[in-house]
């Protein structure tokens, strides 16, 4: 109101209505801003408050459970993703039944009685037209992914009868060969009924074998003699074997980093190895309180998910020693298998109590299409949390997870045990000849030997 009578003529404020009148109610007006820092003081405290709020909201919105697929009549023993379709998942149960699921509709498309006894392994063919199953009945069966016509019996395309029980199967990324494991690691051609190659190295059984998705000629398997064996299909003999303190259940190659794989061990830990330096794992991932049964990498190769006997699923960053997320439900029992969906959005877990559960990979992520502003806000909040992650309050809230009582108890117990072990080791070192009890790092402790 100053300067209305500044001089003898009257000055009137005049604006173009286009600058401030909305055309529609959803129209957002561009607000001219002055970024002069003196006009916007206290940037750090304000951003800190925003970060704190973002962290809290992240926890508020963290609702990872999406759906549960029930229908199996026994524990789920294996899950595999469809190679070409995000919405299809194939699962095998302990009663020999294989089910095909449609994820968006959350329903079973097809049920096949594939084997007598367990379905030990499933893998989908790279082209997405068929899948293979192996079971306790010593057979490998190839099934068509398309359902047979009405009234036509459900029959495999191909059945191979083996000499021993097969415990795992994996298909080559681009060629028509697949690999099974049991008493030996066999490489099969799809067109033949006998293995084209057979590897064995003095062990009686393998639990898991996986093709390297990047270096497609490389193989790795977990054996019951606590070893992990590497193979190259172009070579005549296996490459190398690393023997650990306890048995590894499964392993998974990093799909984006050719020489890293992670194995799920019975000693509650996961180990990431670099195949060029097998004597020491790159990272030891600790957090589970019981044997880890399955592991799967995210398709981006940045994280992996692990399933454990302690009824939880955990998500680990590939280079961090501890998990960033833990999922559990009251009704979820021992989780036997877990898979990360190919679009990096979901995690699937199959557990003992006959259910397949679908989880979000990022617990607080909003699903579906986001508007540009929503996206920008989400990115900003994420960045703020990252920026202030070292501040105690932000860290406290961001890291807080509710755990079931027994897991918490076990965790405490194990911490105590570990501490006791450490103390004992210290005492032994103190009372023995200097240098006779070497100081081992956590990484070195778990590898027993590397066999050439």
């Amino acid at each position: 109101h100053q300067s209305a009578y500044e001089s003898d003529n009257i000055k009137v404020l005049c604006r173009n209505p286009d600058d401030y009148v909305r055309e529609t109610t959803r129209d957002i007006q561009r607000v001219p801003r002055n970024y002069d820092p003196t006009l916007h003081p206290f940037e750090v405290p304000r951003e800190y408050t925003r970060a704190l709020n973002a962290t809290k909201l992240e926890r508020v919105f963290a609702k990872p459970f999406v759906a549960s697929l029930d229908g199996h009549r026994d524990g789920i023993s294996c899950i595999t993703k469809h190679a070409k379709s995000l919405s299809t998942v194939i699962s095998g149960a302990c009663d020999g039944e294989v089910k095909l699921w449609n994820l968006p509709r959350q329903e079973c498309l097809r049920t096949v009685q594939a084997h007598e006894g367990f379905v030990r392994g499933i893998c989908s063919r790279f082209c997405g037209t068929s899948f293979f199953t192996v079971g306790d009945d010593k057979t490998i069966k190839q099934w068509n992914l398309e359902a047979p016509g009405y009234g036509v019996r459900e029959e495999p395309i191909n059945t191979i009868l083996g000499k021993a029980v097969f415990t795992g199967i994996d298909h080559h990324q681009r060629e028509s060969t697949f690999v099974t494991c049991g008493q030996t690691v066999d490489i099969w051609d799809e067109q033949r009924s006998s293995p084209i190659r057979s590897f064995s190295w003095g062990v009686d059984s393998f639990s898991c074998v996986r093709y390297n998705p990047v270096e497609t000629e490389l193989l790795a398997s977990c054996a019951s003699d606590r070893s992990i064996v590497l193979y190259d299909t172009r070579e005549s003999a296996p490459l190398r074997k690393v023997i650990m303190q306890l048995r590894s259940n499964t392993l998974c190659w990093n799909p984006m980093e050719a020489y890293y794989f992670t194995c799920a061990n019975e000693d509650y830990n996961l180990y990431t190895y670099d195949i060029r330096h097998l004597d020491v794992p790159v990272t030891v991932h600790m957090d589970h309180v019981s044997a880890v049964l399955d592991v799967d990498y995210s398709p981006t190769g940045r994280e992996f998910v692990s399933a454990s006997f302690d009824k939880t699923i955990r998500i680990f960053p590939k280079d961090k020693g501890h998990s960033r997320e833990v999922y559990h439900t009251k009704r979820m029992q021992h989780v036997i298998c877990v898979r990360w969906s190919a679009d990096n959005k979901y995690v699937l877990s199959g557990s003992d109590e006959m259910n397949i559960r679908l989880w979000k990979a990022n617990a607080s992520e909003k699903l579906g299409l986001l508007s540009t502003r929503e996206k920008a806000a989400a990115h900003y909040n994420k960045k703020l949390i990252e920026k202030f992650q070292h501040h105690p309050q932000v860290r406290r809230i961001a890291r807080h997870r509710h755990l079931p009582g027994d897991i918490l108890k076990q965790k405490r117990e194990q911490r105590e045990m570990k501490e006791a072990r450490r103390r004992r080791e210290q005492n032994v070192r103190k009372h023995s000849k200097p240098g006779s009890v070497p100081l081992l790092t956590e990484k070195e402790k778990h590898v027993a030997a590397v066999v050439e």
Binding site: T129, R174, D343, K345
Partner: protein
């Protein structure tokens, strides 16, 4: 038996009478089965054969004579181990070629998955669906229509018409046309550049010259037009008439614009300004002059244009105090330059501001307050009063104008002289205004009161010399404040002064600080025990030696942060409520080397409040971007490591089943045909 084998004479075949495990295919019977074959047995025959060279024979003889045994071949385990070792080395080396890519991806600020995305945009039908055929009647109908219009259905993407048009222009033609276009474009850009350049020239003179040249040209053209094209000339004339009318309607060249006003102020002193104004008026006159059809009296003098300069140009400069709009544009009397005034003058000046009503009101208020509190400080009051009058002056500028003040206006335009501080007041008091001041007609009770207060009454004011040890830098303040901001600041200062009039803030502060410093200093611990080792009792003090011995001085604490800042107290206590939000100094987060690094990382804001949109977008971009609904395939070696192709078929899958097989087959066909 062996030696007998080589002989010419065929050995008689023995009859086999009993079953044997070893049956020779050369009809040799199992006679000497258990026998060992000696080297001599084999070599004996060599000696006899004529074909063998002497050299070999010699070598063999030597071999026979030497007694050394050959080493055993490695056992299976060891050979396998070696094989494995070699294979492992090979594989490890091969895998290492990923190292750079992996490191690069790990360091990348942003990764977009799926990797190796195909370029977005529309694709040909042939690329999207292979081996697709029309099936339904509707589709057939559509394709029939397309065929009629010779639209592409299959592989040829261009219609025949398009192809024809492609072929239509020959190379030569195209070249010529292209050259023409190029030339045209070059010319255009040249003219554009020229225009731009000319537009940029700031010189007014240049533009004037240009304008005049244009005008001249126009006149010439007009003359010609009159002769050649009278209709066109008439139209031009009409245009001129129109412009004249417009000129007459508008106030454009009548010394009424902003520029003209500013010039009018200057015109009194500045000759050029005066000239400029005159020129403008001349222009007006020219433009408004009726265009006469060229006749004899076209050269008419127009000297009377000079008289049209408004009168106020010759007026004296407007009063600095522009409070009264009535006075503007009037002849004013010459004023004596008032540089300094006495304290009384200041007060009178304040009193004599044009708003009597307001002043009266203040007076009343002041009196009331004086009645209330006898011990109110006069100086402070003065300050307050001057403050308020100033506010009042602002208000009157907005509207409260009373015409009765005109007479004082001319005399007292120092209404805005400001007393900054006490020193100023004192300084002002030393000077005596040479000019006699006209007595104002206003009621002056307040002024008299103010002036009658003795100067030594400002005893309770904070004495700066007492408080501040350092010499303050004397800031010269102009008497006539020029900027409005300063006025506001003055107001602020005086408000603050008024608010903290009663308390001696500075000495309080100093006391506080010394108290804090004293509290921070370590205390001397006195451990002397009276009566221990010497006599004690009432009236007896421990000996000096003992006091010296048992008084323990602790080490001084580190110097205070505000030690060298006289006007600051920095609290060194840990604030518990804030500490829970702070990153502890001891646990520096991992990637940071020192606290400065960490703090700088925190200090830069990333939000849209402090940064422009693009910067925010850049700073908050996520590390991993995935496309919704897209399958992220693992890396494919051939895409990243070019020179090493392991599979002959490249990326493509070898064998497909079912439908895909057909698709592949079609693809292969295309490849081969290409």
């Amino acid at each position: 038996a062996i030696s007998s084998m080589g002989s010419r004479k065929r050995k008689k075949q023995n009859e086999r009478s009993e079953a044997s495990v070893q049956v020779s295919e050369f009809f040799v019977n199992a006679e000497g089965t258990g026998e060992k074959v000696n080297l001599s047995d084999l070599l004996g025959t060599v000696e006899k054969t004529s074909g063998a060279s002497n050299k070999t024979k010699k070598q063999l003889r030597n071999l026979q004579s030497s007694k050394e045994t050959l080493e055993l071949p490695l056992n299976k385990q060891q050979t396998e181990k070696i094989q494995r070792g070699i294979a492992y080395e090979k594989t490890a080396a091969e895998v290492s070629c990923w190292r750079n890519i992996i490191l690069q991806n790990q360091k990348a600020e942003q990764m977009v998955f799926p990797l190796n995305q195909e370029s977005p945009g529309p694709k040909r039908v042939e690329q999207v669906v292979a081996g697709w055929k029309v099936q339904t009647p509707l589709e057939q109908e559509i394709f029939r229509l397309l065929h009629i219009n010779s639209q592409p259905v299959d592989d040829p993407v261009l219609t025949p018409v398009e192809e024809q048009s492609l072929k239509a222009m020959s190379l030569e033609e195209a070249k010529i046309r292209r050259a023409e276009l190029q030339k045209a474009r070059a010319l255009q850009s040249y003219y554009e550049a020229k225009a731009k350049r000319e537009k940029k020239i700031k010189s007014k003179k240049y533009h004037k010259v240009q304008r005049k040249a244009k005008c001249k040209d126009f006149l010439k053209q007009f003359d010609e037009m009159v002769k050649t094209n009278p209709e066109g000339a008439l139209e031009e004339l009409k245009k001129m008439e129109l412009s004249r009318m417009e000129e007459r309607m508008s106030l454009k060249h009548q010394n009424s614009g902003k520029w003209a006003k500013s010039k009018a102020i200057m015109a009194k002193y500045d000759d050029s300004a005066r000239k400029a104004m005159q020129e403008q008026l001349q222009m007006n006159k020219d433009l408004t002059q009726k265009i006469v059809v060229p006749s004899d009296d076209e050269h008419e003098s127009n000297e009377e244009g000079l008289e049209t300069i408004p009168d106020f140009v010759n007026d004296s400069e407007p009063v600095i105090d522009s409070v009264n709009p009535w006075m503007r544009g009037q002849l004013t009397h010459e004023e004596p330059e008032v540089s300094c005034v006495t304290t009384e003058d200041v007060q009178t000046a304040e009193e004599e501001n044009e708003e009597e009503e307001l002043v009266g009101e203040f007076e009343r208020k002041r009196k009331l307050r004086q009645a209330d509190e006898e011990d109110l400080i006069p100086t402070e009051e003065e300050l307050m009063r001057s403050e308020k009058t100033l506010e009042g002056s602002n208000q009157t500028r907005e509207g409260l104008n009373t015409p009765g003040q005109e007479d004082e206006e001319g005399l007292l335009n120092e209404g805005q002289i400001r007393v900054r501080n006490i020193e100023d007041l004192e300084v002002l008091g030393e000077f005596v205004d040479p000019q006699p001041i006209a007595e104002p007609s206003l009621p002056r009770t307040a002024a008299v009161e103010a002036t009658s207060e003795p100067p030594y009454k400002k005893k309770r004011e904070i004495d700066l010399k007492e408080v501040l040890t350092k010499e303050a830098k004397a800031v010269k303040v102009p008497f006539l404040p020029t900027v409005v901001d300063e006025e506001e600041r003055d107001e602020q200062i005086s408000i603050i002064k008024e608010a903290f009039a009663g308390d001696d803030v500075i000495s309080d502060f100093i006391k506080d600080k010394s108290k804090l410093e004293a509290a921070g200093r370590p205390e001397v611990v006195d451990l002397t025990l009276p009566g221990w080792g010497e006599w004690g009792g009432v009236g007896l003090k421990p000996s000096r030696w003992k006091r010296k011995r048992f008084r323990i001085k602790t080490a001084p604490p580190p110097p205070r942060q505000d030690q060298k800042l006289p006007d600051v107290i920095i609290s060194e206590n840990r604030n518990a409520s804030v500490a829970s939000h702070q990153v502890t100094n001891r646990l520096l987060p991992f990637p940071f080397q020192n606290t400065a690094q960490f703090e700088s990382s925190i200090r830069t804001p990333i939000g849209p409040t402090w940064n422009t949109q693009s910067v925010v977008k850049n700073m908050t971009k996520p590390k991993v971007i995935t496309k919704m609904g897209a399958i992220i395939e693992p890396m494919v070696k051939e895409d990243f490591i070019k020179n090493k192709t392991t599979t002959p078929g490249g990326k493509g899958p070898a064998i497909m089943l079912g439908e895909n097989k057909r698709i592949l087959f079609v693809k292969c066909l295309k490849k081969t045909s290409l």
